[in-house]
Each structure stands twice: as structure tokens, then as C-alpha cells.
């Protein structure tokens, strides 16, 4: 065969070999078809474990109760019991080792998320006791008069 035919052929073969060699080094061993099929399961298997190891930031009431049992139990006797501690006190990750005191959100805006009057008939929002935040004691923090941990039944 003539050189002008052979030459590009060798170059092409060399390129293919090079790509295959590079692929061996750069593609992880666990990359391939896992699970259902190629369309939905073509991935790196190790990533599933990486996601499972992702750090949890909201540890939940079960974590708070380990040290603050009395407080948590006392607060669980009223209508606010369904509100997680961390919703107002902040995510517990790192507490108490790194974060001694959690940043407590005592703003009016926090309470008004549920208690701002919107007049939505037939919506769950209508079942929550509400005030107009723009008119009701505008300059005062809600917790000055209302105890968020022990709200009186008639004012909720």
C-alpha cells in the first residue's frame, strides 16, 4: 500500500489507542451501568456513598432532648409543640462544641410567618390566630408579651 494511505491510518490507530489509554486512567473503576439500565443508571457508583455521608445540619428534637430534656418536655404541652426547636433557635450542627450559643431568631417576622392575618377563606392559614403585624404593637417584639414556649391557649 502507498505511504499516503498508510500514514493517516497509523495516526488514526495511534489516536484511538491514546484515547483508550487515557480513558483507563481518568475513568474511575466504579463508573458504568448500575441499577435499572444505561439510560437511568449510567454513573459512578461511589457517588451514592458520598451523598449518604453528606453532613446533617438539622439534628431534630431528639438531639435537643439529650441535654435539654426538661425544657423540651415542658414545651411539648401546648399547641406550639409541633414547631421544631431549630426553626427558631437555628440548625444545631456543631452545637455545643463549635457553636456555644445558637443564634435565636426573635424577630416579629418569624412569628408573622404564621400569625400575620391574610384572610384566606378555606385555607389552613385561616385556622391560625392572626394579627395584622403592621398595626399590632408595631415596635415591640412578640416575645415581650407572648411566651413562644408557653402560649396561652386563648391567644393562639
Amino acid at each position: 500500500m502507498k505511504r499516503h494511505v498508510l500514514h493517516p491510518l497509523w495516526v488514526t490507530i495511534a489516536l484511538v489507542v491514546l484515547v483508550l489509554l487515557a480513558r483507563m486512567f481518568f475513568v474511575p473503576d466504579d463508573f458504568g451501568v448500575h441499577g435499572r439500565n444505561f439510560t437511568y443508571g449510567f454513573h459512578r457508583l461511589g457517588n451514592i456513598g458520598e451523598w449518604q455521608a453528606f453532613p446533617v445540619k438539622y439534628l431534630g428534637e431528639d438531639s435537643c432532648i439529650e441535654c435539654h430534656a426538661e425544657k423540651v418536655q415542658a414545651n411539648n404541652g401546648n399547641v406550639h409543640k409541633n414547631i421544631q426547636c431549630e426553626n427558631c433557635h437555628g440548625a444545631a450542627v456543631g452545637h455545643p462544641d463549635e457553636v456555644e450559643a445558637l443564634a435565636i431568631d426573635e424577630s416579629r417576622e418569624l412569628c408573622l410567618r404564621c400569625h400575620q392575618q391574610l384572610d384566606y377563606p378555606h385555607s389552613a392559614r385561616d385556622t391560625v390566630i392572626a394579627v395584622d403585624g403592621a398595626k399590632h404593637r408595631r415596635r415591640r417584639a412578640c416575645s415581650k408579651c407572648h411566651d413562644p414556649h408557653q402560649p396561652a391557649e386563648d391567644e393562639i
Partner: protein, 256 residues
């Protein structure tokens, strides 16, 4: 040409071994083997949203953004809450300011103040990734950076994503975005790290009204699965054929 019986057997055995080698070297795992290696097949994660219970407080959005280190002021979020207000003139007003992260505390929607007297119905609809059975976002990924696990959750491999954005375009529900910190495609994954540890997803845990719940659809005894299978639930955008796994109670025709 002569060939003794011993040579014939030797060469026959040798050539059989050599020809068998490449076949065994290239055997792929069967799907059953792979499934056993990854997760238990007794789990399929689903989600139930009860729109009749949601009050639009936005604690779920707040919790989600914190859990995944998405800056509070970034205009992207893994889950969000939409408000629908239908007025007497037949108009439907929809908004979701910053995904509803600060809750809904005024009657102003867009630029317009809605007179409470004119409201015929109003409700809140939390949204999140539907973890579809046939996820369009996975089909279009050119590098295998997003995939479906055996328990039905669609994950994104942050080390493998090249940021082409095809999946953002493909998702009919618009749940995908680029993570401002990691610069790769991101979306809700039912808090995979939490549910695999037996915890509730961050949004479910933070919801004080029980409007959001996680379910194992393969467990008939799961209380949430019982609701999904026995009560009247709906899914979003059924017509796309993606077979979503987030089910809604009280879904209105205005919700898209």
C-alpha cells in the same frame, strides 16, 4: 503433518482457555447483581404534600437552604412554596417571593394589593423535585453525572457534573438550578443523606403542620403510603409521562 494425542489435547485446551478469556474479562454486572450491590430493593421513596394543611410559613425553604449551604439571598432553592389567590373576577394571582423563604405576610402579589373581600379561595403549594420514574433530566445528561438510584431517588454527582445545563432545560418542573457555591447542577434529592439514616428530610422535619411527609412506596404498612394508595391524590404535569413520585392532596386545577 503429525500430531500426537497429547499435543492435540494440550493445544485444544490452551486455545479454549485463550478464547474464553476476553469474554470473561468483559462481562457486565447483570442488573440484579448491580441492584444487590447498591441498595435494598424493598425501598422506593415517595413524598406526600397536603396543600390543605400548608399555611405558607416558609420554614421548609429556610431549613432546606441551610441544610445545603445555598446562600439565603441567592435566587435559587431546592424547594419553594407558591401562593395561589383566586379572586371574584376569575383571575388567579400567583407568587413565590424568594421561594417563600420569609413566608407570606402581605396581601400584595406582584405589584398588586389584593383586597381580602375579593378573594374566593387562596392556598399554598410547596414544590420540590418529583424524583420521577422516568426522569427527563437523567436522560439528557451527556456524562452520566445524574442518575437514578435503586430506591428511586435522582442524585447529582458533584464531582462528575460538567455544568452544561441540559438537565435544567429538560426538567418539566423547573426544579434544577446551578448551585451558587459548588457551580454544578443541583436539585432536591429528598435529603438522601437524612432518609438513609432514618431521619426525615429537613423540610419535613421543619414543617409544623404536617403538610409534607416522606413515604416508602414499597411498604404497604407505611402510613403515608396508605394515604397515597387509598385516598385521592394527584401529581403535577402527569401529561409529560415522567411518572412523578410527589403526590398532592387538594391540588387545584390552577396549579401548574
Amino acid at each position: 503433518m503429525s500430531c500426537s494425542r497429547r499435543d492435540f489435547l494440550k493445544q485444544g485446551l490452551g486455545s479454549t482457555l485463550v478464547s474464553a478469556l476476553p469474554l470473561s474479562a468483559f462481562t457486565f454486572l447483570s442488573s440484579a447483581e448491580a441492584r444487590a450491590a447498591v441498595a435494598n430493593a424493598n425501598t422506593k421513596w415517595g413524598f406526600l404534600v397536603d396543600t390543605t394543611k400548608c399555611v405558607g410559613c416558609g420554614f421548609c425553604v429556610e431549613a432546606c437552604k441551610t441544610e445545603y449551604e445555598i446562600p439565603r439571598d441567592a435566587a435559587v432553592t431546592r424547594t419553594w412554596v407558591e401562593r395561589y389567590v383566586v379572586t371574584k373576577d376569575g383571575e388567579t394571582h400567583i407568587d413565590s417571593p424568594d421561594g417563600g423563604i420569609d413566608g407570606f405576610t402581605s396581601n400584595v402579589i406582584g405589584e398588586e394589593e389584593i383586597d381580602p373581600e375579593q378573594v374566593t379561595k387562596a392556598f399554598f403549594v410547596p414544590k420540590l423535585c418529583n424524583q420521577c420514574d422516568n426522569p427527563a433530566c437523567v436522560q439528557v445528561c451527556p456524562v452520566g453525572a445524574t442518575y437514578q438510584t435503586d430506591d428511586g431517588v435522582v442524585l447529582v454527582d458533584r464531582d462528575w457534573c460538567i455544568g452544561c445545563g441540559y438537565c435544567l432545560m429538560a426538567c418539566p418542573y423547573g426544579v434544577r438550578f446551578f448551585h451558587p457555591k459548588y457551580k454544578v447542577a443541583d436539585k432536591c434529592n429528598f435529603c438522601y443523606h437524612r432518609i438513609m439514616k432514618g431521619l426525615d428530610p429537613a423540610c419535613v422535619q421543619s414543617c409544623a403542620f404536617g403538610a409534607r411527609r416522606i413515604a416508602n412506596l414499597k411498604d404497604p404498612e407505611d402510613p403515608v403510603t396508605k394515604i397515597i394508595t387509598t385516598e385521592r391524590v394527584a401529581v403535577l404535569k402527569d401529561e409529560y409521562g415522567t411518572k412523578p413520585n410527589v403526590f398532592y392532596i387538594g391540588l387545584d386545577a390552577n396549579v401548574r
